[in-house]
Every structure is written in structure tokens, then in C-alpha cells.
């Protein structure tokens, strides 16, 4: 591919992405936080958050997106999400069982209502979003390097 790819796609795409990337990220966070009340949840929300960064990278090229979320930061968040989720599971041990839902359940339909479920949702979305962005970055960097080598 030509040099031009570094700077991302055409102007029209860039202006549209500048408008929509924030909305996509917000929508992903909404899906994650309301996972136990409305459809969606840790996985769908996490993938949407990951997709917003992928969207940014496709439109603006590699270096802008990596400026926002670098490779080290994405692997840090992924590990953090994984350990958070395992930590929540281990906290259940206090109450006697592995994945016990030990926090108070609160009354339904409220945001902070379902014990460990929202916390697990947040941990999973961190992990899924950062992990998938890490995969995409790894595949893109590999492709660019192979072009330059040939």
C-alpha cells in the first residue's frame, strides 16, 4: 500500500469519525453499565468499546490511535480487567463459595442493584475491549511491516 495509508482515509471519513467515535464509545459504556437491566452486557459493551478504537485507527491511521491507547496501555488494561474479574470471583470465597454474589442485591431496575454483576460486567468489558484492540493492533503492525520488507 502507498505511504498515504499512514495518514488514514480521506477527509470525509475523518470528519465523520471525529463525530461518531465519541458516540460509539459512550454507547459501549452505556451497554456495559446497564448490562444487568437492559440487554447487552460485559461482552457486547466491551467489543463496542474496542471497536471505537479500531474505528479511530482505521480512519486516522496507526499513530493517532496508538496515541490514544498505546500497545502497553492496552495490554495493561487487559491484564487489569482479567485480574479484576478473578479477584471478584475470589472475593466470593469469603462468603464460602467461589463465585458467591455477596454484595447486597438492592431492588431491581436500579443501576446499582445486582450485587457483583455490574462489577463483573465492567471487568469483562475492560478485558474484552483492550484485548481485541490488542489483537487488531498486532495484526495491523504485522501487515505494515511485511509490506515495507517486500
Amino acid at each position: 500500500m502507498s505511504r498515504e495509508h499512514e495518514k488514514g482515509m480521506s477527509l470525509i471519513v475523518k470528519t465523520i469519525t471525529r463525530l461518531t467515535v465519541g458516540l460509539i464509545l459512550l454507547y459501549g459504556i452505556y451497554i456495559v453499565s446497564h448490562g444487568h437491566v437492559s440487554p447487552g452486557g460485559g461482552f457486547a459493551g466491551g467489543v463496542i468499546i474496542g471497536l471505537s478504537f479500531v474505528h479511530l485507527m482505521l480512519a486516522y491511521g496507526k499513530d493517532v490511535a496508538l496515541g490514544k491507547l498505546s500497545k502497553q496501555a492496552s495490554s495493561f488494561f487487559e491484564n487489569l480487567g482479567a485480574m479484576l474479574f478473578l479477584g471478584i470471583a475470589l472475593l466470593g470465597f469469603i462468603g464460602g463459595y467461589f463465585f458467591l454474589n455477596f454484595i447486597s442485591k438492592g431492588e431491581p431496575f436500579r443501576l446499582f442493584s445486582a450485587g457483583i454483576i455490574p462489577l463483573c460486567n465492567v471487568a469483562i468489558s475492560l478485558k474484552v475491549g483492550a484485548g481485541l484492540f490488542g489483537i487488531f493492533v498486532a495484526l495491523v503492525l504485522l501487515k505494515l511491516k511485511s509490506e515495507r520488507k517486500r
Partner: protein, 501 residues
Amino acid sequence: MNIASNIIPLFVVIPLAGAFLISFFGRSIKRLPDAMGVSVTLILCGLSLLSVRLHNIYGVLTYSVGAWRPPIGIGMVLDGLTSFMLVTVNLVAFCITVYSVNYMEKFTAKWKFYTLFLLMVGGMNGVIITGDMFNFFVFLEIASVASYALVAFGTERHELEAAFKYAIMGTIGSLFILLGIAFLYGYTSTLNMADMGVVLSQKGIDGLIIMVSIMFLMGFGLKAALVPFHAWLPDAHPSAPAPISAMLSGVLIKSLGIYALCRIFYNVIGINPTISSILLFLGTLSMVVGGLLAIGQWDFKRLLAYSSISQIGYIILGIGLGTPLGILGGLFHLFNHSIFKSLLFLNSGAVEYATGTRDLRKMGGLAQKMPLTGTTGFIGSMSIAGIPPLNGFWSKLLIIIAAVQAERYIYASWAVLVSILTLAMYTKVMKYAFLGSLSEGLSRIKEIPIFMKLSMATLAFMCIVMGVLLIPGISDFFLQRASEVILEGTEYAASVLRAIR
């Protein structure tokens, strides 16, 4: 649900926590991956020996995750077969981790290797302890995905192509298993193995269950490299790093393939004559085909891979007989095979580490320069060939006697023939690799580092000592318990439900 059963979830939590910690600190602290890997597998090894003792004291232990009774939530079960498999897996995993401390110096990104290795061990432990069908599939998939990436760890041309072929066949196998689980869920509408066994015994066996059994046979046959589905094993082994091919054929195809076949066909669906005759036929077929193909190989690891297929055939023949002696022989051979086959693979890795080649024709007289590798290789080859004092002899003897008792004379004669073939195969390996004159290019090779020697010595010592497991005093603590679980068949459901209450 007494305090002792809290040990069961540790088998999955510790490797996963270790893997996450290694990938978190892996890059910064240089020696952490090795230390973490060895310590985690050591703890797991100790826990598995403890689980054998706990099972002897308390009988069948169950653990319900998240305080939900198993048919509702996910249950974990620790019975004779589980503790037997846990000891096999974690013992061999510990020796292989000690070995790979030195061997992996030749590879870059060591922390990624240890993360994937601990995830594979965690996946296998998860498969062994779980009592829930879908959870069984999820942990089977963890162990498989980790092993696909580990086979391609060297990123050379052949390794990538072999890893791709293994990944495609593994994914097809897993999807057949998932479709089988979907059929079973539609039919019994429950996922807990014990509960499913109860529903299946009430509903009886009809067309759907036969089809599900065939699909499971294909899926788990592919994971266990039985003959019609063995195509990936001979390519995956030569290209995988030595500790991984030792792990793959020593433990992975047993816990994902054979343990799964035993658990589902004996305990959940209940064995019927058609399934057991298919198993016997496939076992003998893989025994013979594996042996015949192995004789002609000149690549050390490819020969070991084909001989793995034929030894898996022995185990399936033993377990497929269904008689008490046959099952005892099959399980004992499973335990022995995972010890001496991983020893032989580590041996081939040591030879490759020192001489850089795997081709038997280029080697010669290594025993003079590498005494320990020579002796451990000799012990491993003799025990797989079935020379009396070593452990391989006893288990093969049991299988052949059981086959004769069950009036399966054709299968028994094939078993004897293939064991002679194996003896010839391994004398060829010994002659070309270790004995004979030292070829000129290899004069300056030196012995392998300390950790590799340590792990091979322990495995060789176990090869010699494990014959003792058959003595009646010791066997009913360990082997007898495991074969009782398979013998009792669908009473598994009753014993698990009794343990839950």
C-alpha cells in the same frame, strides 16, 4: 459439602492467577516467568497428591460454584477418576516446567510461553474437575487454543503450517462436540452430567443418543488422535518445541480425549455393546497403523508421534474392553504412557538442544558425550517397549491378559504383534541415536544444562518405580478407585447426587 472440598476450585484458580500475574509482570522482571511457572506447577502437584488422600478419606467430593446446587449452578466433582487424572497431569506438567526453564532459552518472549503453558494446564485441570457439560467444552477450548498457539511458538515455516492444520482439525472437533452438547441439551434440557445421566436413564437410548455418541466419538477421537482423525499429530509434534510436544502427547490428548471418552461414554450416556465394539476396533486400528507408520520414520520426534498414536490405541483397547482388568490395565497404561512418552520427547529435545538436528541418520554414539541423556533415553525406550522390570511391561501385560479373558483373541494377538513392533522401533532409535560410533561433526557437543537433567532423571526414576503401583496394597488407594468409577458406569449420577446432599 464439607471443608475438604474447597480444594477443588484451587486446581483452576491457581494456574489462571499465575498466568495473569506472569503476563502482568512478565516483561519487567526477567526471572519471574520461570520462578512463577515452576512454583505454580509444584503447588498443583502437591494439591493433586493431597486430593488423592482426601478422596480416600471422604469419598466423592463435590463443590457447587456460587452456592447454587448443581443442577441449577455449575458443580465440580472429585472422584477416583478425577484425582487419578489430576495426579497424572500435574506430575508430568511439573517435570516439563522444570525442563523448559533451560530449553526455552533458545526461544524469544519466554513470558508468553509460560503464560500459555499455565493456561493450558489450567484448562486441562478445568476439564478434569468439572461436572458440567458446557463448562467441560469451555475448558477443553481453553486448553486447545493455548496448545494451538504453543505449537506455532517457533514461527518458522513448518511450525506455522503444522499449527494451522492442528488448529483447523481441533476446531472442527470442538464444534462437533459443541453440536453434540446442543443435541443433549435439547433432549434432556439440563447441563449437569449427573443430572443428565439420570434423565437419560429415564428416557432410554434412541436414535438421537446414537447420533450424539457418534459425534462425540468423532470430536473426542480427533482430540485423542485416534486413527481416522490422527492426521494432525505427526505434523504438530516435530514442529512444536520439545516441552510442548511432550505435554501434547504426554498429557493433553489423554485428558481432553481419553478422559472425556471415559467420562461421557461410561458415566453419562452409559456404555452399550455397539459403542464398546467401535472403541475396540478404533483402538486396535490406531495401534496397528501407528506402529506400522512409526517404523519407517527417520525424524526422531515424528517417530515418537506415531508411536504415541499406537500407544493411545493400547489404552483405548484396554478401556474399551469394559472388564475390570481391562479398565485397570488401560488406566495404568495411560499413567505409564504419559510418563515415559514425555520422557522420550524431553530426550529428543535434549538431543536437539545439544546437536541441533532431529534426523536419526545424522546422530550416533551420543551416549559417550551425553551420559545422562543416554541412560534416561535407554530407560524410556525399554519401558515403552515393555521390558519386564519397568512399568510399561506391567500395563501392556494387563491389557493383553484382559483381552484374552474377554475372548477377543484377534485384538490380543494384534496387541502382542504391535508390542514387538514397538520393541524393534525403539532398538532402532537406541542404535542410531545413542549407541554406535560418534559421528565426526558431533565431537564437540556437551551435556545438557542442570534443569533438563533434573527433570529427565525424575521421569526416568518414576519409570522404574511405578511398577509398584500394581501391588494390591497400594493399587486400591489409586488405580482401583479410578477403575471403580468407570466400572460403576451410570451409578456415577447417584453417587454425585448423594454427595451433593
